[in-house]
């Protein structure tokens, strides 16, 4: 087929993440979830998930507890603003990096909220 098959003659895109690259690099601040305040985390059952609902970039998982994919989280802060129990705070990215946490580590180790 080489480079002359149909798909190569046309602008035909297939779906996958990261069209904008690792958009986590856009962040100036990152959201941190306080599991003591997070409703589904505290109850250990399906509840709230307002952060999951409103995340524009689909980086918050609908799990107990919710986790954030920092590879793609743009740090918009909507989750922090909308969380009804104020369980999410926005922390300067610079501080996180300075504290020796690899910004990508949270996502490569699998779903685990960073505290």
């Amino acid at each position: 087929m080489g480079t002359r098959g149909y798909r190569y003659k046309t602008s035909h895109s297939l779906s996958g993440p990261g069209d904008g690259g690792k958009t986590g690099s856009w962040r100036v601040q990152r959201p941190i979830i306080d599991l003591e305040r997070c409703t589904p985390a505290r109850r250990g059952s399906e509840a709230c998930f307002i952060c999951w609902l409103y995340c524009p970039d689909n980086v918050i998982s609908r799990t107990i507890p919710p986790t954030i994919d920092y590879e793609y989280c743009k740090g918009c802060g909507i989750c922090a603003e909308e969380c009804p129990t104020k369980a999410i705070t926005m922390v300067d990215e610079a501080d996180v990096v300075a504290n020796d946490e690899d910004p990508a580590a949270c996502s490569t180790e699998g779903p685990r909220p960073c505290t």
């Binding site: 149909y6 190569y8 003659k9 602008s11 297939l14 779906s15």
Partner: protein, 402 residues
């Protein structure tokens, strides 16, 4: 089956036989009877197609592009300003590699308003990447519509079937209507390379970067330049595909032969007149008159204008002393487009040192100005007996009354 009907009806029957599935068209003189006939076929149940009475030509081609992308055989038709209105879509259809067929019933473009025949509309679209076929009579119209779908779907490039407004669209001529069983052997159901499908999703024709870029599988994908190059490459390859299609058509229907050129008395011609469309058939009478006066002159009709059959044309005219290009359009600011194309084709030969004919350009019939056979005869007689090289920069405009 033999029939006497007008060119628009011939085209409509061609579309019906071809089994177009989605038809979206907006009325414009002199195309209107074509779309009206198709509406009659569909409403009478003679043709199973979705008809979309769109609110503009831009929407007509938009609907065809969408339908074709979804995997349906799509058709539209227009003229003049309607074609110009859909111009961005014309580029789009070619770049999207969609096998849409469009009849262009040639008409002059505004400003000022003019509903009569010339070729400015389709000629102005020659850069868009569409295949362009020009018809000389009603048999060619109905046959070309069928060939157009076959070629379009073979190469995934849209095709314009052009025929003269009023001169062909509204006049009555006898022609043979292809039999349905024969059409079924010639034109297979549309099998697109890709059709929009939730089972196999893709995002079509989004922003495509100047540079190449890695896709989700880690393979390097083309940039815009490669996609456009491949359109050009496939267009040049269409010269051969058009001939193969013609051969197949001839084998099944018993008529046709040369997909690219239609010569008349050129074998021993010292002078050859080159043109597009019904004008070339009118020139047969001129040739007869001048030949009776002792001038060895012939006509070379160009059937396929884009891709331009440069090589075939050069082979066909190189023996002549002189070539006259008569056309019904101008690339304003320079000269007739066909004139330029013919000269450019011969230039390559000239470089090799072989003798090439001189080429003189002429413009006629702009805005439907009657092209009188007597005027053509006088002009060409003067051209072959006079000194054509003194013609000066501007091509002669035959029939001009300043």
């Amino acid at each position: 089956m033999h029939m006497i009907e007008n060119g628009n009806v011939a085209a409509a029957i061609g579309v019906k036989l071809a089994g177009a599935q989605v038809i979206a068209a907006y009325p414009i003189t002199p195309q209107t009877p074509l779309t009206e006939k198709l509406s009659e076929f569909i409403e009478a149940g003679e043709m199973k197609a979705q008809h979309i009475p769109v609110e503009s030509e831009h929407s007509a081609l938009a609907a065809c592009i969408a339908a074709s992308s979804t995997g349906a055989r799509a058709f539209t038709a227009t003229s003049a300003n309607g074609l110009l209105y859909m111009h961005e879509q014309v580029h789009w259809a070619a770049g999207a590699r969609l096998p849409i067929v469009m009849c262009v019933v040639n008409r002059a473009v505004g400003a000022p308003w003019n509903i009569w025949n010339d070729h400015q509309d389709s000629i102005s679209q020659r850069d868009t990447g569409w295949i362009q076929m020009y018809c000389c009579d009603h048999q060619q119209i109905i046959d070309s519509v069928l060939k157009a779908f076959a070629i379009a779907e073979a190469v995934s490039i849209p095709v314009m079937v052009c025929y003269d407004g009023y001169l062909l669209s509204h006049t009555y001529m006898p022609f043979e209507v292809p039999e349905e069983q024969q059409v079924a052997r010639f034109l297979k159901p549309f099998r697109p390379a890709y059709a929009l499908d939730p089972e196999n999703p893709a995002n079509l024709n989004t922003v495509t970067l100047p540079d190449t870029r890695v896709d989700i599988n880690g393979d390097m994908a083309h940039g815009y330049m490669e996609i456009r190059y491949l359109l050009q490459e496939d267009l040049r390859a269409t010269l051969a595909v058009a001939q193969q299609t013609e051969d197949s058509f001839k084998q099944i229907f018993g008529r046709g032969g040369d997909a690219l050129l239609e010569p008349y008395r050129c074998d021993d011609a010292e002078y050859i007149v080159v043109g597009l469309g019904s004008l070339t058939y009118q020139l047969h009478d001129v040739v007869e008159t001048l030949r009776s006066e002792g001038h060895k002159i012939g006509v070379m009709g160009i059937r396929l204008y884009r891709p331009f059959p440069a090589e075939a044309l050069v082979q066909a005219v190189r023996q002549a002393r002189g070539v006259f290009v008569i056309e019904k359009a101008v690339s304003y600011g320079y000269e007739g487009a066909l004139f330029s194309d013919v000269k450019a084709a011969l230039f390559e030969s000239a470089q090799s040192g072989d003798p090439v004919p001189f080429v003189k350009g002429m413009v006629a019939g702009i805005g439907g100005r009657e092209i009188r056979t007597a005027d053509l005869t006088d002009t060409l007689r003067a051209a072959v007996t006079g000194s054509p090289r003194d013609a000066g920069d501007d091509p002669g405009w035959i029939g001009l009354r300043l």
